[in-house]
């Protein structure tokens, strides 16, 4: 059942690469991926916003994917890219609304990996947070954890949207399975060390990663 839909997503990618918006739209619509994204957002961020916002961020994600591919970029997983672009946009929008700004679809920008306006102050703030995070890396213990977390922060700094275990594995020379485990431990350790350093933190979404770990028991690490 899924194979034809995945194939349609690949057709959409091929259409965007050759800058054929009509074929892109047709394949995207046929794949029902935008339906899936909207249903997923409704479920995950239930009650966060009115329904039209989920639609708006799905539209923005479809546009973002097209622009990336037509502009010569590449994506490993078009479905994953669309989901992350949509979710990032939703969070950015939510942050904007917290600051009492009016909703404006035209302002939705997929390229911001976190909420908030991209001002110079915000840039400095993010740079400071990154510096703080990197300063905690040596406290994480295992060298491979430091390697994985360091690579993740580099990607974040470069405003990457899509980064899966295989990407990290390719860059670090580890296996995808090791990356999954190291990443999970890395985030947990980083939060623990941050608290020790006096930084107040919420639980975040590490729980999801921990749940994934519980579902997939550890395998042998191959550094």
């Amino acid at each position: 059942m899924d194979a034809p839909q995945l194939s349609l997503l690949n057709d959409a990618v091929a259409a965007a690469v050759r800058n054929d918006p009509a074929a892109y739209l047709e394949a995207l619509a046929a794949s029902h991926v935008l339906d899936g994204i909207i249903r997923g957002l409704e479920h995950k961020w239930r009650g966060m916003d009115r329904d039209s916002v989920y639609h708006a961020v799905a539209v923005a994600a479809a546009d973002a994917l097209y622009n990336k591919l037509a502009g010569g970029g590449s994506v490993r997983s078009p479905g994953g890219y669309l989901w992350k672009a949509a979710e990032n946009t939703l969070l950015k929008l939510h942050e904007d609304r917290k600051q009492h700004e009016e909703f404006d679809e035209a302002r939705l920008d997929h390229s911001l990996e976190s909420p908030g306006p991209a001002t110079a102050d915000r840039g400095n703030l993010r740079a400071e947070a990154l510096r703080m995070a990197r300063s905690l890396l040596p406290r994480l213990g295992e060298a491979n954890i430091q390697l994985v977390m360091s690579f993740i922060f580099d990607c974040l700094e470069n405003a990457e949207i899509e980064l899966d275990n295989q990407d990290i594995a390719n860059a670090t020379g580890l296996t995808a399975e090791s990356v999954r485990r190291l990443k999970s431990r890395g985030f947990q350790c980083l939060r623990r060390e941050a608290r020790r350093a006096g930084i107040t933190l919420d639980q975040g979404i590490s729980d999801e990663l921990t749940e994934q770990d519980a579902e997939n028991p550890d395998s042998e690490d191959t550094p």
Binding site: L6, P21, A29, D63, A70, L156
Partner: protein, 238 residues
Amino acid sequence: MNVEVIHEEFEKLLLAAERLTIDVDVVHMLKEGIERPLGAEEAQELLRRVVSRLERGAEARGDRERQQALHGRVDDLTAQAMAARIRIRAAAEAGPVHKTRSLELLSSHNGISRTPVVPRPVFHEKEIPMLGGALPNKALLSQLFGDSQPIFGASQSLNPSCRRNQYSANISSACDRWAAICTVLMSLSSVSIASASRTLSSEIRSCEPAEHNPGLAANSRRASAYAFSSMTGPICPL
């Protein structure tokens, strides 16, 4: 810089890093999409917005090619995309297609190995991956015609002269039979023309009477050509 603000930003950074690296279950997402799709009106409106957004993007980027492809076509493209959705939904609701007849090629037989056909045959401008190799004849024929009929009707009980006449008749019958077989072979999309042709020749040889038959080679060639044109005719006219 305010420490609290930096801490807040640090928290956001961690959340962003976690979101960045989470593996998205795309298969589940697509399943949700097909099982709980948007309503027709909702989907139509969504697609209209995608078209408008792509057009605005093209305008902002000065992408004339994309602008031309989209300009004034919101309704047209939306209808086209909606039709594609309906087709896929109909296919999904109909369930998977089950092959009623399929055959496995032998991995190796008389030096013929099971290998992909290169170059790939093209049908309606799409490459069709096919495998070439040897087929288990008995299984093939029994699937096509049942177990009750003899393959080519060659009877070993006739006297030599009768057998020769019978053989000629059998060759014609074989050609017709093979034309039918080959049509089915092509529809199975799992055997190459070359393989089918080779199998045909070997089957015709298997009909050869014990004594020398000078007409055999010519008949065999004619039969091959006949079957070959029958096979290729409806698929890719020569």
